[in-house]
Amino acid sequence: MFVRFEAHRYSDRCCPTTQTPARGTRTLMTTTHADYRLSQLDQLEAESIHIFREVAAEFEKPVLMFSGGKDSIVMLRLAEKAFFPAKIPFPVLQIDTGLDFPEVLTTRDNWVNRLGVRLVVASIDDAIANGVVVDDGKTSRNRMQTATLLNAIEENGFTAAFGGGRRDEEKARAKERVYSHRDEFGQWDPKMQRPELWSLYNGRIHAGEHMRIFPISNWTELDVWDYLGREGIEIPDIYFSHQRRVFVRDGMLMSETPLNPLREGEVVEERTVRFRTCGDITLTGCVESTASTIPEIIDEVAIATLTERGATRGDDRFSEAAMEDRKKEGYF
């Protein structure tokens, strides 16, 4: 069954063995790599760090899009590691929808202060006030978020914007490149994507265009939780089980908040819940859960039967191609 056409190139040479640690080192990794194997989480981390460094080296003005959610926290952690002991050499951009969870904003501020990175906040309300975005009463905040983001990128002259998108999230994302080109209108053209081979990324853009960069493309939801657990880093409290006043809308459990007035027939009750994603408070649902630690969340994710977006994101439910359509316009 097993046909070997060519002897392995190094099979006749001596195999590397575990080395004694060099003297004078500060700390040494606790794991030994007797067989020179990297765990899959270490491989994902190495790939992502490579992407961060590549962008920092080749782009004039990168920025990291930071929502305060778990995926953007993983990104910030990877960026911290990529440039340590130097500071992260680019700012962090947050789109203030006015509908963010307060717990998420607290976590954002803690991270930004600890790392000493510059925070750029682009607010939808400011964009409306300045006439950049028109609030016609019909367009959702979610769509206005895209216009606000594109305006912030243009105004600041950002040439590359890191996003926390993962390919396992949604099937349009499954086909998106790590370096995803955006034209001068911020649009994504799925049919004109550049081939992406090996670890050779092509960052060429023309004036006015920019590149979206997805350094955690190959991570799954479970990888993100494994990594957060391993790193022991701060994430917003709303990911953990808590008591919350909620009501049911479109089959999802939504938070009671003055920002999201109740419709006829909707009844508020207190339940034990947690959030699987952090988005717009009026569109992001929670799930009933008693998971109050990361290992408990991992257990829950491992047996979950619904995708995190399908389960709790109103913004992806509008049509089968909801994500693709929004991405074409310039969404995250």
Partner: protein
């Protein structure tokens, strides 16, 4: 985490296998991927329901699992896969990344893309039809891209009465064909993706087959030793200089190890300058580590204050690539305007970008027959050929057969900025 396994039974020391699949719906590729995802519980209920609903609305009398992977609107409308799709699943000991590529000849570039990062290639054949031009082409591309492990899955065995004779014939024919290729490890597995024979569970219908099931093979194929652990290659990607009071004199070179094992104290040479120094330390975030090997991303510090910048390469004094401006390579052309001699392009090799002039196109390789066409003096889209390039600065390269990182490059059209070619170096001189 100190525990060997997490609470849900997965190993914390899980490793990773990247594999590329090629083929069309006719070969049962989507059914196979769907089955791997289903049986490893990697499809969520809402994804399956969406696919079932779409299948019903299209009037199919079966659930079309291809709809799971055809993610773009135009693909669903046309009922074809256009692009490389990445899929993920995991078993307790291994995570898998599937690069799922369309199999038709006009999508060769997508298959090349998917194969470029793959540890293993999965080629499907229909047992009723045996080897086709398409399956041969897939094997040729996987071999050109030096994907070290190949699985030939002989599918639809249920439709040939699980006949050993049919399997043996295909196995023999393929083995003979493969002698012309570079395939270090081949496994030929008889399966039925639809019925589930030998995919995850061993088939009762083919007791004559003594080899592994597909899933067992994917889980156990040894990939760690495919990496070059002998020839040290460290392309410098980014110079880390904190310029802070705390780390005033820190100067480190960030990069991903492309080959060999680096250790503090090693004598190294920096190319292309040729300056030598010793490794003072290797940092992984806030830890200092005793060795670095592929594909780790680390920061290397040197003992001497030598001039090192992005695009340079750190290697061992007696084992370093030869800087070269004349490159002989196999190039896969990826854009509709053909590649012609005298053309000038941008070239990106490891962390070094330069310009390249096409000096000659020696031949076009027919990926179906391996015939070398020396008459054509250009390469069209999805064609592969042997090309001579002259670069503006020396590249620090190895043959692709020795190192897939230092032996590969991409070509970029300087006007449009688009990636137009992918190259695998035969040699530099």
């Amino acid at each position: 985490m100190n525990a060997e396994t997490t609470t849900d039974g997965r190993s914390t020391n899980m490793d990773l296998l990247r594999f590329a699949t090629a083929g069309s719906v006719d070969d049962g590729k989507s059914t196979l991927i769907g089955r791997l995802l289903l049986d490893s519980k990697s499809i969520f209920a809402d994804q399956l329901e969406a696919v079932e609903a779409t299948s019903v609305s299209k009037g199919y009398d079966y659930t079309d699992l291809a709809l799971l992977t055809d993610g773009l609107r135009s693909e669903r409308e046309q009922g074809i896969t256009i692009d490389v799709a990445y899929r993920y699943f995991a078993t307790p000991n291994r995570k898998f990344i599937i690069a799922d590529t369309p199999g038709h000849v006009q999508y060769t570039r997508n298959m090349v893309t998917g194969a470029s990062t793959a540890d293993l290639g999965l080629v499907l054949v229909d047992a009723r039809q045996g080897l086709t031009e398409q399956s041969r082409r897939h094997a040729v591309i996987l071999s050109l891209l030096r994907v070290p492990h190949l699985v030939l899955a002989v599918n639809k065995m249920d439709l040939v009465d699980y006949s050993q004779e049919v399997y043996d014939k295909i196995h023999q024919e393929f083995t003979q064909f493969a002698t012309k290729l570079n395939i270090p490890d081949l496994e030929v597995i008889p399966i039925s993706a639809l019925a589930g024979d030998n995919v995850v569970n061993r088939s009762d219908n083919m007791s004559w087959y003594l080899g592994p099931t597909l899933m067992h093979h994917l889980e156990h194929v040894h990939v760690a030793s495919d990496r070059d652990l002998v020839d040290v290659r460290f392309p410098v990607q980014y110079v880390v200089r904190p310029k802070s009071d705390e780390h005033h004199d820190y100067r480190g070179y960030g990069g991903m190890v492309a080959g060999g094992v680096l250790k503090p104290g090693d004598e190294v040479v920096v190319l292309p300058s040729g300056m030598t120094s010793k490794i003072a330390g290797i940092d992984l975030f806030d830890q200092e580590i005793s060795e670095a090997f592929p594909p780790m991303s680390v920061t290397v510090r040197l003992e001497d204050d030598v001039d090192v910048s992005r695009g340079d390469m750190i290697a061992r004094v007696k084992n370093a690539p030869v800087p070269s401006q004349d490159i002989d390579a196999m190039v896969c052309w990826m854009t509709t305007t053909p590649l012609k001699p005298r053309q000038k392009l941008a070239i990106k090799h490891t962390t070094r970008t330069a310009r390249a002039l096409v000096k000659d196109i020696q031949y076009r390789l027919d990926v179906n027959t391996l015939h070398r066409d020396q008459e054509t003096k250009e390469l069209g889209v999805n064609e592969i050929g042997r090309v001579q390039l002259r670069t503006t600065v020396p590249l620090l390269c190895d043959p692709y057969s020795q190192n897939r990182t230092t032996g590969s490059f991409i070509l970029i059209d300087e006007a449009t900025g688009i990636t137009v070619g992918a190259g695998m170096i035969n040699s530099g001189s």
